[in-house]
Amino acid sequence: MLFRATNLNTYYGLIHALQKISLNVDQGEIVCLLGRNGMGKSTTLKSVMGLVPPQSGAIEFQGRSIFRALPHKVARAGVGLVPQERRIFPTLTVEENLLMGVKAGCQPPKDLEPWTLKRVYKHFNSLERRSRNKGSQLSGGEQQMLCMGRALMGNPLLLLVDEPSEGLAPLLVKEVRDVLLQINQAGVSILLVEHNLKVAMSLAHRCYLLGKGFVAFEGTMAELQARPDVMAKYLEVS
């Protein structure tokens, strides 16, 4: 198993945001976290990354514990983050933003083709033209591409992707979906938080459905589709 979180408990002050959450991602998988707003999907990703350290539980990555490790240790172990707010560095150029993703002194995984500026630009055509622009000058779609490219520059084995299609036009949503699929086919496993059920259905192999801070359902996408009662209870009707 590439990644396994067991019984994670995370608090924001007195609020018990994650309650004994357990989930795993296998090599090559795209696993999707589903659920309504405020159920703890983003918090799960932040807890894994070490940005919001969990109180108790266990997290293993490639058999080693990364529980309560500092974010840079988690990153250097092979986890990449594409956060919801994108968090592009506004005063840095596009190229500098990408280079910020390079983990100096870290060897890329042997069996995967390493990511370079050239390879990122090949995947995200729009970025090359904008390489000398400041991060703050990009459109929402470009920022999303840059954010993914930046994470890839660190050659992650597991990519944590938070709401990549949020706020994007349908055409861009499709582009993001395609890129995620390509990345996955290149050997990167993905833990995805996705609001858009259609995108999630078309990408993910398995999913976890979160209630208020707990796992309400887990299974393949087909198994989820077979449970309209669960979907009605824990997903937004759209």
Partner: protein, 292 residues
């Protein structure tokens, strides 16, 4: 040049010299704030401590240049220790920025008392190094060489700072961390070490300013208070975390001070604060800042 033109030229250079000195102090303050979210109250005390170290190194070696080298490094080392062993713990305490603010306030009070115990309360004097004593003729205006040296020294520090910030990997990391330190750490950079280095760098610049100012001022325990306040105004006006903003604000406030004294002396002490209030009223983030 007419005597009147000479007078205005002199005021212009005075403003430039004080503005650049202010920038040296303010740049460290704004970098530290941008990256760590800490308003370092002890920054002015580092400035003051460096001037005292300058007195001691000067007494021991007789060389102003050695003082300029050693005193700021001493202050930088102290800054690093304060970050590593105090601020980091305050941050880990989870009490938020209040703990850090109180801690730096405590550091400044302890430094003020430590200075009194070590060097006494009496004002100490540092002479202008002989190589920089005297006046130089600028188109008929006799101007003190040492004040020009302050401008040049500040420009050199500014150039070095720009080189590091814009031409090195560390600089990229620092600029990125000024806007989003959390994201930087999520990309695999140990921001704690970067914080420590930046705190050291900021303290070093306050230290350079302290040594540069020592020969034109009396070195006494309250030395850092006013410049610390002025630097704070510069940071607020320029925008928290913005180096470019700090540079422009420092130069503008330096000139505002000089020409304010020339034309409206009765109002000059409040000009700086009025301008700050004006900027905040129209742009709460400061001229070039992104954060309130």
């Amino acid at each position: 040049m007419s005597p009147e033109t000479q007078m205005y030229l002199a005021q212009g250079i005075h403003g430039l010299a004080y503005g650049m000195l202010l920038f040296l102090v303010a740049s460290g303050l704004t970098l530290i704030f941008g990256m760590m979210g800490i308003l370092n109250i002890a920054h002015g005390a580092f400035f003051m401590l460096s001037a005292y170290l300058c007195v001691t190194v000067l007494g021991a070696t007789g060389s102003y240049w050695l003082s300029l080298l050693i005193a700021p490094l001493g202050v930088a080392l102290l800054g690093i220790l304060v970050e590593r062993f105090m601020l980091r713990r305050a941050q880990a305490s989870g009490m938020g920025h209040i703990a850090e603010l109180l801690l730096t306030l405590g550091v400044s009070l302890v430094l003020a008392e430590a200075v009194k115990l070590t060097w006494g309360t009496e004002g100490l004097q540092v002479n202008v190094p002989s190589a920089l004593a005297g006046l130089v003729n600028i188109a008929g205006l006799e101007y003190p060489i040492y004040r020009l040296f302050i401008i040049v020294l500040s420009l050199v520090v500014l150039a070095l700072l720009s080189l590091v910030l814009f031409k090195t990997r560390l600089g990229t990391i620092v600029r990125a961390a000024v806007s989003d330190p959390g994201m930087v750490s999520a990309l695999g950079v140990n921001t704690q070490i970067v914080f420590m280095l930046v705190f050291g760098l900021g303290s070093w610049m306050a230290g350079v300013a302290g040594v540069a100012a020592a020969p034109i001022l009396t070195v006494f325990p309250g030395l850092g208070d006013q410049i610390g306040m002025d630097a704070f105004v510069v940071v607020v006006v320029g925008g928290f975390g913005s180096l470019f903003g700090a540079l422009l604000a420092a130069l503008f406030l330096g000139e505002l001070n000089a020409f304010g004294i020339q034309f409206i002396p009765k109002l000059s002490p409040v000009l700086m604060f009025s301008f700050m209030a004006l900027v905040l009223a129209f742009k709460p983030t400061g001229l070039f800042g992104e954060r309130e």
